[in-house]
Symmetry: C2
Subunit: 410 residues, 2 copies
C-alpha cells in the first residue's frame, strides 16, 4: 500500500479524556477515531489489525467444530422478558420504535441463540452443537473508559455450546479452554487461566486475564501453576497460603457453564436414547477482539509508539523511501515495493515526497509495523537497505537482492 | 463440509407471514432464521453466501481505490441534529440511554463520515478520497416485508467520495457506476442503470434496478439503451415517445451526488492551490448485500428450490452418498470428498446415514448448490458418479478419476 494514497494521517494530538496508552497511540497512529465515549471508528490501519485478530479467532473456532453464524443486534423484548433480563440487566440498551415495537440491542446473545437451537435440536442425535459469531455488541455502560478496553459498542466473538450431559459439556469446555490458550498465544498474549465464581450450575467460571497495570480487575496469580483466582473467589485461606501474588489484569476471554438456565426458560429439550425428554445443557464462551486490540497496545508499546506482534500487525514491512531529489532512490524503492508485494510480503510503502526523514521515522515508530526497511542514497550506493525490527534498537544493512530471503528467515 | 456435522436443517414449514420466494426458500433451506419482522439471523449456509457477495463487492471497491473502514452503529444525536435529519428522517431508530445520552442507530453514515473527513482533509493534496465500509444498518420501517428485500436490520456497503471539483466528482461517479456494473455482473444480476431525481446538486441520481415481479419500484426501461427511468422522473413526454416499457423492479444499488450539503453542515473545507478555502464536494454510493441475496433467490429459483449463481453459491458441489448398507460406496464417497476438498473444490458432503435418497435429492434441490454429484452402488459399479448441474434437467455419468477435471472445465 502506497502511503501517499492511503487513508492514513497520524496526529500529534488526541482527545483530552483519552489518557490510556491504547486510546492515545491508536488515535495518534491513525488506527481508530473516537466518535463518542466508548464508541470508535476503525480506520483502514485499525480495521486491518482487527480483521487479523478476528481471523485467528475464526480459524481456531472452526478447528473445534464451531459453526459460524451472524445474529442480529436487534433483539426482541419478548425473548429478554422470557429470561427476566429485560429488567435485571442494567447495561441493556432499549429501543422503542415509532411503530410500537420494543427491542434490546444485544450485549450477549443467549436470548437469541437458545430459540434458534430450539428450532434445530430435537433428539440426542442433534447434540453436541457449537455455534459462534463475530459480531458487534452494545452495552449501556455508566462509564466507558480506557479506549478499546471498555466500550459501549465493541466487537465480540461469542460461542455457545449445547450438550446432552454434564460430562459432554465438561469435555468441550476444556477443549475450548485449550483453544483459547492457542488463540492468545497466537495473538502474542500471555493470558492466565483464572478461576471466577460460577453461579448455580458449576462451582467456577473461568476468565482469561492478561496482567496489565491499567487493567480493571484484581487477580491473584499462582506463578507455579500459571493460573489465577479473581477477587470474587479469593479467600482469607488463599491469602494465608502465601502462594498468590496480587496484580492488576484485563479480562480478554471468559467461559461459563450456563447449565439449564436458558434451555429451561425457552423450553429447549431433547429426546434421549430411551425416549425421555431432557433439558439441553449449555455453555457460553466469549472473546472481545476489539478489547484484545487495546490490550495488545497496552502491553506492546514504548515511548515512541506501538510494537505490534507479527501475527496481528497491519503490515509486515514499513518501507521508507528517503529519496529527497534522488530519482534513483525513488525508482529503486518503487521496484522494491513491487518485488516485496509480488513475494507476498504485506508492505506499507512510505512514498510521500513531501515528508522529511525525521517525520517518516517518527510515524513508523508510532505505527509500529514489525520491520522497518529504509532505502536512501547512502544505502543504495551499497545496493542495500537498512533493516530494523521495531522492537530492537540496532539496524543492519542487507543487500536488496537478499531482503526477501532475510525477511523469510526472521 | 460433512452435512452430518453441519449446523443445517431444512424445513418444510416457514413463518406464515413470509410469502415472498426469498424468505420462504432461504428459511426452508436453512440459510436464515427469522427473528422478528425485518430481522434475520444468517445461519452457516446463509453466512457463506453473504460473505461471498460482500467479498466480491470489497474486491471491486478496493480496485477503484476505496479505503475500507468500519464505522459504529451508534451515532451521536449531535451529528444528526447538525444536518437536521434527527427530526426529518422518519425511519431513524433513536435510543435514550440510562445515562442521559441520546443516539441514533445509523441507517446511513454521512453524519459520521463527514466529521471523519474533517479530521484528515485540509488541502487539495488530500483530495480525492474514497472511503467505504461493509456494515450493519438499521431502519425503523413502518412495514418490513419481502424477506431480505426490506429489513429493519440489514447489511450495507456504503462508499463516500470527496472531491475538489465537480469535474473530479463526475469522473469518479462514472468510475463507480462502471464498478457497480462489474459487481452486479459478477453477482449474476442484470442491473439496469436507472435515472432518478437528483436533488439540489445534480439533475439526476442513479439507481441500479433489477427487474423483478415482486419488486417495490415501477421503472420504465428503454431496451435499446439498456437504461431506465424511475417513476419520479418519468414524464408524459417519455410515455408518448413509445420508447419505454413499464416493469416492476428492485433497487440493489444507488449513487448520489451530495454536492456540498454535508460538507457545509460540518464545515468540511479544503485549501485550494491558490490558498482559498472551498467546500469539499461529496458523493455517496450504496449496495445492500443482504438485499442482493434476497434478489438472487427471487430471480434464480424453480418450484423445487434455489439455483445459486456459481460466484455466490455456498458450496460448488453437493456430494450425495447413496450408500444404504453398501460400505464400499460410503468409503468411495469419503475418498471423493477428501480428494475434491484437497483440489480446492468447496463441497457440501451429504454423508447422512439415516436419510433416504428421496430426502437427499429434495434437500439438494432446495439448497441449490450448482453441481450435484451422486455416488451409489450403481454408479460405483462403473467407477463413476452422476453429475447434474442444478439448472439443467439431465444428469451425466462421469468417471470418478475425471470428475475434478470435468468440474474445472464447466
Amino acid at each position: 500500500m502506497r502511503q501517499s494514497k492511503y487513508f492514513l494521517k497520524t496526529s500529534k494530538t488526541v482527545a483530552k479524556d483519552d489518557t490510556s496508552a491504547n486510546a492515545r497511540l491508536l488515535e495518534q497512529g491513525g488506527f481508530i477515531k473516537k466518535e463518542m465515549a466508548g464508541v470508535y471508528t476503525f480506520l483502514p490501519l485499525g480495521l486491518r489489525v482487527l480483521a487479523k485478530i478476528e481471523n485467528i479467532i475464526r480459524e481456531e473456532m472452526d478447528a473445534i467444530g464451531g459453526n459460524e453464524i451472524l445474529m442480529p443486534a436487534l433483539n426482541s423484548k419478548e425473548n429478554w422478558t422470557t429470561t427476566g433480563r429485560w429488567d435485571s440487566m442494567d447495561i441493556l440498551f432499549k429501543i422503542k420504535s415509532e411503530h410500537g415495537y420494543e427491542y434490546a440491542l444485544g450485549p450477549t446473545h443467549e436470548e437469541t441463540i437458545t430459540p434458534i437451537a430450539l428450532s434445530v435440536i430435537q433428539s440426542y442425535k442433534d447434540l453436541p452443537l457449537a455455534v459462534y459469531q463475530l459480531q458487534t455488541k452494545f452495552r449501556d455502560e455508566a462509564r466507558a473508559k480506557s479506549g478499546l478496553l471498555r466500550g459501549r459498542e465493541f466487537r465480540m466473538k461469542d460461542l455457545y455450546s449445547f450438550h446432552a450431559s454434564n460430562e459432554d459439556l465438561e469435555k468441550y469446555y476444556n477443549e475450548v479452554a485449550d483453544s483459547y490458550r492457542t488463540i492468545f498465544k497466537r495473538l502474542g498474549l500471555d493470558a492466565l487461566y483464572t478461576y471466577a465464581s460460577g453461579g448455580t450450575f458449576s462451582q467456577f467460571s473461568h476468565e482469561f486475564q492478561v496482567e496489565l497495570e491499567s487493567g480493571e480487575d484484581t487477580i491473584y496469580v499462582n506463578d507455579k501453576t500459571s493460573e489465577a483466582k479473581n477477587k470474587e473467589i479469593f479467600t482469607e485461606e488463599d491469602k494465608a497460603s502465601g502462594v498468590y501474588r496480587e496484580t492488576m489484569a484485563c479480562e480478554v476471554g471468559n467461559i461459563f457453564n450456563l447449565g439449564t438456565k436458558f434451555s429451561e426458560a425457552f423450553g429447549l429439550t431433547y429426546t434421549d436414547q430411551e425416549g425421555a425428554s431432557k433439558p439441553v445443557i449449555m455453555a457460553s464462551y466469549g472473546i472481545g477482539p476489539s478489547r484484545v486490540m487495546g490490550v495488545l497496545v497496552e502491553k506492546f508499546h514504548d515511548d515512541k509508539g506501538i510494537i505490534w506482534p507479527t501475527a496481528v500487525a497491519p503490515f509486515m514491512v514499513h518501507l521508507l523511501a528517503l529519496s529527497g531529489k534522488d530519482e534513483a532512490v525513488a525508482a529503486a524503492a518503487d521496484k522494491l515495493y513491487t518485488d516485496l508485494t509480488a513475494a507476498g510480503v504485506e508492505v506499507l510503502y512510505d512514498d510521500r515526497a513531501d515528508k522529511m526523514a525525521g517525520e517518516k521515522f517518527a510515524d513508523s515508530d508510532l505505527i509500529g509495523i514489525p520491520f522497518r526497511v529504509v532505502i536512501s542514497t547512502k544505502t543504495l550506493a551499497e545496493d542495500s537497505v537498512e533493516l530494523k525490527p521495531r522492537n530492537i534498537v540496532d539496524a543492519s544493512m542487507v543487500k536488496i537482492n537478499e531482503l526477501i530471503n532475510t525477511l523469510n528467515n526472521v
